[in-house]
């Protein structure tokens, strides 16, 4: 059976985020100018990393159940964690915990238990800063991912397979990414093949197409291409998606087209919820 390996400190799993940092990421979701896609994506990934750290935190420290990499592709293709983790292709979750680039303090209004509200200071660690410049060298970014994962897998043969999540708002500008994507999906651990999920971030005011199981309803060749290079959701993940209210079938792929912020957050949550974390 695949995708059942227990995620543990001896057999950690890994997430590799590929983040489109092209010029068009300056635009807002669905054309809404109030918040740039680049800012929203950075925020969402920072929150996701924060939640992953907290999930792995125990009384004695943070357990390295996960390794994480974040690669940006725009005017260049390179790792984009900032601060003391800058330049690192893959880091352990405990390193993320100990070395955020900075910690923002934000106030949140919470109920004080007596019918009123009180300001509470919450710490928001930041590892990723938004950037939006250049083209969309998706092929190069996928090739970089393949190299990183080949190395990682050689040291973690028994682990739950790595999950690659590609966040993009437009078409590749360095060629057809199919071959590079296929190379990634051919990689495997003993527990199954590497999963490649794609989320396309919307520039238009149209409904998101979430976890499709065929390309018939997809609006254009580009959407069909991204569908083709997306892995099917493993069984437990499809179960999570169903619990969250998504209509999924056994052939549903880890792919969302025209995602807005809400879609993006759900997608990342489902894609990173552990099946078998102890």
């Amino acid at each position: 059976m695949t995708y059942t390996a227990e995620i543990s400190r001896t057999n950690p799993s890994c997430f590799l985020f590929l983040v489109d940092q092209s010029g068009s990421m300056k635009d807002g979701f669905g054309g809404d100018p109030s918040k740039k896609k680049a800012d929203s994506v950075a925020d969402v990934i920072n929150r996701l990393l924060q939640n992953l750290v907290i999930k792995c935190a125990k009384s004695e420290g943070v357990r390295d159940y996960y390794h994480v990499g974040v690669i940006g592709y725009g005017s260049d293709v390179k790792p984009i964690l900032s601060g003391s983790l800058a330049g690192r292709e893959m880091v352990r979750i405990s390193e993320l915990a100990e070395q955020p680039a900075r910690i923002e303090e934000r106030t949140k209004k919470v109920e004080d238990g007596a019918g009123g509200l009180v300001a509470q200071t919450i710490k928001f660690p930041v590892w990723l800063e938004p950037t939006a410049e250049g083209g969309t060298p998706m092929c190069r970014s996928l090739a970089t991912a393949e190299t990183i994962l080949t190395n990682w897998i050689s040291e973690h043969k028994a682990s739950f397979p790595p999950i690659v999540i590609n966040l993009t708002d437009g078409e590749s500008t360095d060629g057809d990414p199919t071959a590079a994507a296929d190379e990634i999906r051919q990689l495997s651990t003993d527990d199954g093949q590497v999963l490649l999920f794609n989320i396309h971030l919307s520039s238009q005011q149209s409904a998101a197409i979430e976890f499709p199981d065929n390309d018939a309803g997809l609006p254009d060749q580009y959407a069909k291409l991204l569908f083709k290079i997306s892995s099917q959701l493993p069984g437990y993940m499809a179960g999570i998606a169903k619990e969250e209210g998504f209509g999924v079938s056994e052939n549903s792929r880890g792919f969302v087209f025209n995602a807005d912020m809400v879609s993006l957050i759900s997608f990342l949550d489902i894609g990173t919820r552990p099946g078998n974390l102890r």
Partner: protein
């Protein structure tokens, strides 16, 4: 009545004993004449903070209470939990996690002699989550509580929280049961990994209590560890903390 209670437990494979997050009460072998006896097991949720501390507080402080008093009882324990874990400045991630609190399953059993008829005994139990009680009489399983099928175990049971904000739904889901007990009856309390194995064995016409009765003997602890390791290797039991409390009533 004479109560003989013995426990056996083992942390998840890959963890140290300090990382064991279940709890049971009593821990040490118990063999006494009593009119009332209380015992419990609890399974701290591993993704939560200081779950072991919370599970131990719940198990060791179990008293039969009305559900209406439960919120107040829990509130006292929640306060103790917070004081025990909040002893030094914590890094940002630990402070966040502490705010969410610890979560645990709970199963408590009380056995009492009837005031008017000392030969007559009653048992009562409360449970939240998937730690289970199995009542065995004359080599037969007569009752399983709160789960009675191996299919019912999933990774998201209801749990009691050390943070009062999260307990409303859990308290609604608290289950209770009771019944008569006679001399010679045995009660097996265990957390989910072993409980699921137990029920699977019963579903395959096995008598798992015969094995567990032997392994609850403290002199058999090494054999117990070996046996659990074999079950884990053969994937017959999920790799998780294992806790067994065997109670015999005479």
């Amino acid at each position: 009545m004479q109560i003989i209670a013995r426990s056996a437990f083992l942390q998840k494979a890959g963890n140290t004993i300090d990382e064991y997050e279940d709890a049971c009460w009593p821990v040490d072998p118990f063999d006494c004449e009593v009119t009332d006896f209380r015992c419990a097991v609890a399974d701290g949720a591993t993704e939560t903070s200081f779950a072991d501390v919370w599970a131990r507080l719940l198990a060791t402080n179990f008293r039969p209470v009305d559900t209406t008093d439960l919120t107040e009882t829990l509130s006292g324990l929640q306060q103790i939990w917070f004081e025990q874990v909040n002893t030094k400045p914590l890094p940002w991630y630990a402070a966040e996690k502490l705010r969410d609190g610890a979560f645990s399953t709970f199963l408590g059993l009380t056995i009492s002699e009837d005031d008017t008829d000392p030969q007559s005994r009653q048992w009562s139990a409360i449970a939240i989550g998937d730690s289970c009680l199995f009542h065995v009489r004359e080599d037969r399983l007569v009752y399983a509580f709160p789960l009675d099928s191996s299919e019912l175990f999933n990774s998201r049971p209801f749990l009691l929280s050390s943070n009062p904000e999260f307990n409303e739904k859990a308290i609604e889901r608290l289950q209770s049961s009771e019944g008569a007990a006679i001399s010679g009856d045995e009660f097996y309390l265990m957390t989910d990994a072993l409980a699921c194995w137990f029920l699977k064995d019963v579903e395959n016409d096995g008598r798992p209590w015969q094995t567990l009765r032997e392994f609850a003997d403290p002199d058999q602890y090494e054999n117990f560890v070996e046996w659990i390791s074999q079950l884990r290797e053969a994937k017959l039991i999920r790799n998780d903390d294992v806790t067994l409390l065997h109670v015999e009533m005479r």
